[in-house]
Symmetry: C2
Subunit: 364 residues, 2 copies
């Protein structure tokens, strides 16, 4: 509400910050992006016969990340990964990313901010620059330019990411295409992100008992860093989703953002079917509990349904593909999802991550 | 960070809230929207020879709106208006809107929330429903469906809006197209939103002195409501922007979100030109000061540059168009923008709204 004229001159700091972000964003590009940062809108041009896919994902301090636990690079990476994973689940090719950031003033100042991963070289850089390190490194790896966005001061850190992608008409992988008899597959390994979060919680509990000073940045032992990678830097399966769509391998797909049990329920509901999962077949990540593999969110692997006659390769672009169950006809009275093995068949409830616990949550 | 399985069952409240929003969103549609709410992404299909325009705008409690001053319907309207105005400034046709909402739990509960505009009929509806009343009424008026989004709990209210639009290849109105000799025009009247905000500030100061109880909802006298409309319910100039682009009337355009002085500087910078404005020609809204007309933000009128030979109509779709100045060659040493009249020519500084005052702000 600062729009009385006296308080509203553009500051050197504003121009400098925006120029810094724009300069860094210009380091990536895509052939579809006709006009990027700098105008009222970005402009994109697709090939003939292509459709636009658009998704938005909102990340909020203390709900999706913690400033005292997550390195800023990880928060930047995770913010973008959520959107890229949605494109992957549609089989869409990323075209452009947009980033709306609301940040407390301290996070954009060139302070000596200590953080979990602040080495000597990064200790003098502002939080926002290290956030962009993580965001833009993943953007570059996936060939997607930062095409626009918005900045505002905010009492808590919020980051909303928008991804625009392209997919051939009629080739998008929907949640609603699974048919009874289809085989269910997942990419990669499950539960690693949830297990990493559990390790962070344990570290915080131990270090919290020893520390009095605030803010208490979590100290991450060097030997634990690799075990936290699945949580800090999950890899969206963009190439795998593209391969599924282009080669016509899948009837339906969804990304595992909330956890297998919840996302499989979503897939079944949208397709009007039921499913069974073989507990023994689940590709659990190393050191992960059965519950983490079944319910842990934020792995960003793909779950997809393929016709029984389809020859699904054992790996897509270097990532393993595992058969985990079957799509069934929906019978009233029968559970939506059944877990086989692990002590006999039983109903598998949706117990994945709920972002919005006090009053409901999630994607519209 | 609630993704340990024990805390993460889907609640009836979650499903009910999402179902309510989805049902309301389905009341609008556009022919370009192939797939709306319910999957990992929305899908859109443009006509041949069309480009896709995308913009994002982040609104944050106490920076862009106040829960104790603004009726929820106004906050919903203003959230969407910001994005629609960006499309208007490109001359793009709205295709779909996306809404990411972070809200404190109290705002989604069916409480008897008092508010400035809570009539008997609305007193039992949750804040979020009245926010959607305002958002969806404007969406329907502009023919744009709510195609997706995201919800999360947040300690402060944040709303990020994404607008996707369509524009003929090469016909988009850019900030960078103004040429020396062009004539400058604005739509509508200026300063009304800033004057409305000033009235709110005065009301709050007066009522603040009389009230002890918190939360102190601002009481808005019935006879003042019309005078606040320009602030509470600004009208994005979608039809006017479309007409400018389709009829090839403008070389360049920008929407007046930050205030004429600042947005004219943006236009000049992107076009590499200078400009002069005739103070006597400014179409000030009723009861507005000269400073409010020059610097007040959030009017969402369009500023555009047209060739001197172009016959610009006096009104576009019922909204007045006023000639306010000229585009000049950029001379080093001379001011970027000169104000004529009002005590002789003088440099007009960019003194419009800065959203992000402590450390810079604005659109990437």
């Amino acid at each position: 509400m600062e729009n009385s004229p006296k308080a509203t001159r553009e500051s050197a700091g504003e121009r400098e910050l925006l120029a810094r972000i724009r300069a860094r964003a210009r380091s990536t590009g895509s052939r579809e992006l006709v006009l990027g940062i700098g105008d009222d809108c970005a402009l994109m041009r697709l090939g003939p016969g292509e459709e636009f896919a658009v998704t938005t994902d909102l990340s909020i301090e203390d709900r999706h990340f913690r400033l005292d636990w997550h390195p800023p690079q990880s928060i930047g990476h995770r913010t973008l990964a959520r959107g890229l994973s949605d494109l992957a689940a549609m089989g869409a090719r990323p075209v452009a990313a947009f980033l709306s950031l609301g940040l407390p003033a301290k996070l954009v100042q060139m302070e000596r901010l200590r953080s979990a991963h602040a080495g000597a070289q990064s200790a003098h850089r502002a939080w926002i620059d290290r956030f962009l390190d993580g965001f833009l490194a993943l953007a570059q790896a996936c060939g997607v330019p930062l095409a626009g966005g918005d900045l505002a001061e905010s009492p808590v850190a919020v980051a909303d990411v928008v991804l625009a992608g392209a997919v051939k008409r009629g080739k998008a992988l929907l949640r609603s295409g699974a048919r009874p008899g289809d085989v269910l597959y997942v990419t990669g390994a499950l539960g690693g992100a949830a297990a990493g979060l559990r390790r962070l919680e344990e570290l915080a509990a131990r270090q919290g008992r020893r520390q009095d000073a605030k803010p208490a940045w979590l100290k991450i032992p060097a030997q634990m860093e690799a075990a936290l990678d699945a949580h800090f830097y999950p890899q969206p399966r963009v190439a795998q989703g593209l391969a599924l769509a282009q080669r016509g391998l899948a009837h339906a797909a969804i990304d595992l953002s909330d956890g297998l049990s919840t996302d499989l329920h979503h897939l079944c509901e949208e397709s009007g079917v039921a499913a069974e999962v073989d507990a023994a077949a689940l590709p659990a990540a190393f050191g992960v509990t059965r519950a983490q593999a079944l319910h842990g969110g934020e792995d960003y692997e793909l779950l997809f349904a393929a016709a029984p006659a389809t020859r699904v390769p054992r790996a897509l672009d270097g990532v393993r593909v595992t058969r985990i169950g079957r799509v069934l006809r929906r019978d009233r009275g029968a559970p939506r999802v059944t877990l086989l093995g692990d002590g006999g068949p039983r109903a598998l409830a949706a117990r994945g991550w709920e972002h919005f616990s006090p009053f409901g949550s999630g994607r519209l």
